[in-house]
Amino acid sequence: MSILYGILKFLHWPLWNWYLYGYPAGLWIMYFVDAIIEVVLVFAVAMLVVVILVYVFRKYMADIQNRIGPNRLGPWGSLQLIADVFKLIQKQDIIPKNADRIAFRVAPYIIFTPVILGMLVIPFGNASILQLMVVNFKYTLLFLVAAMVISPLGEVIGGLSSHNKFALYGALRSAAQDIGYEVPMMISVLSLIILAGSYSINDIVNAQKHIPFVIPEILGFIVFFLAMIAKQSIPPFDLPESGSELVSGFSTEYSGMRYGIIYMGNFGFMALASVVVATLYFGGPVGPFFNSVLWIAVKSAVFMIIFLLSWIALGRVRVDQFLNMGWKYLLPISILNLLISSLIAIYFGGAF
């Protein structure tokens, strides 16, 4: 993506020769338009990945359960998602009478936004001479973690603003779950920063040229993996939207296309989480013989299958056992991991 930026800078295309206090304003407008184009392209790619992931999920779940999945619309049932979207759009929009109208409407979009924000900062590697990374500055890792924290906030707002007791319980469980699993996740990310020596994801990826980070930090990988499953709210940790206990958790009162946006946000977050784990711990686009975008596709596909298997095959844990595990077991393990990686950093002298 920064080749677009490079072309513009080389060609110096001002829209009009208008100098404001001595700076070329036309060039700034061109850079602004270029940024918008790149964000829209990332949005389109993210949507495409979500659509493919929903199709793979339905067919794979049917495969494991020994049945045929959707196979009526389109060749091998590939247009089923479009038919579902049409069905959801034509439904009546119901908002409960005593609900908080503004917060109720805003909440699904809060769940959906971190998907795009996260995809902006991940380096997807090089495809021939093109460097596929939208933004690169010194602190991209902090930006990524901050974007992933926003998503559970949407669940809490949505649950609290519908005037319903089941939604209230779902929202409170979501708040407890996210607070409990934030801290171990950030401590394991901190040990990555110590090993690589900088806050930028590009540097972390380049530091894994010789050895992927999963080997010196196996404990940190386990903690981060479990925390990622907890953040996405998929089974075995899907307490905010427990399918059969509370009727549908925080999304009880959402119907029609609003529910469709929450659903797509869940899948988008699953795609983002698998890409993040593949990048931070397994090297991303860096491979043994050559660096290309093919490596990151293969690694994140493997992690997507692992997350889908965990959804299909495992049951649900109870709330107090779940928080028990987070505070009493994961937090000491992540602190131990931090100590180990600081020892490694001191012994090998500085960054990798």
């Binding site: 494991i64 020994n66 049945r67 095959a313 495992l314």
Partner: protein, 155 residues
């Protein structure tokens, strides 16, 4: 008997991974569902479906009306001329025959069990669907025909 204490932490987590592996293997086995309506199952030869009446053999004894549990069968007078050998063997002096409301019938087989001549039977005709809500009480001649002859292929 089995152990009532259940698995501890280590064997339990190994059990979780073994369960997930078993389900992953199941993904490669052949599927057990069929695509309806292109492929159909065959019915067993004793499948109970809709009520069929053989008007030549009915003698009008009203035993089926007495035994039917929810009042589905009611007798109707119907003028029907039987051929001479059936008239001698199964006379029906009062000219009454059963009429069945197929929307209420529960296919319980009691009328087939009690009929002394075997005139009323249940055949494997299970596709009783209509596009419009027609009159569902079938008169005695209608009970002799299959659904395709009565309403055509397209309903």
């Amino acid at each position: 008997m089995q152990d009532e204490r259940g698995p501890g932490p280590l064997t339990g987590i190994a059990g979780i991974i073994k369960g997930v592996w078993y389900m992953f293997i199941q993904g490669f086995k052949p599927k057990v569902t069929k695509q309806v309506p292109e492929e159909k199952l065959e019915y067993g030869h004793r499948t109970t479906g809709r009520v069929f009446l053989n008007m030549d053999a009915c003698i009008g004894c009203t035993l089926c009306e007495q035994i039917c549990p929810n009042g589905t069968i009611r007798m109707m007078t119907w003028a029907y001329q039987k051929s001479p050998e059936f008239e001698k063997k199964y006379p029906n002096k009062r000219q009454i025959y059963p009429s069945v409301d197929v929307a209420i019938c529960t296919h319980c087989n009691l009328c087939e069990e009690i009929c002394p001549t075997g005139a009323i039977t249940l055949e494997a005709e299970v596709e009783e669907w209509h596009m419009r809500r027609e009159n569902t009480r079938y008169t005695p001649p209608m009970l002799n025909k299959k659904e395709n002859e009565l309403w055509g292929e397209n309903r």
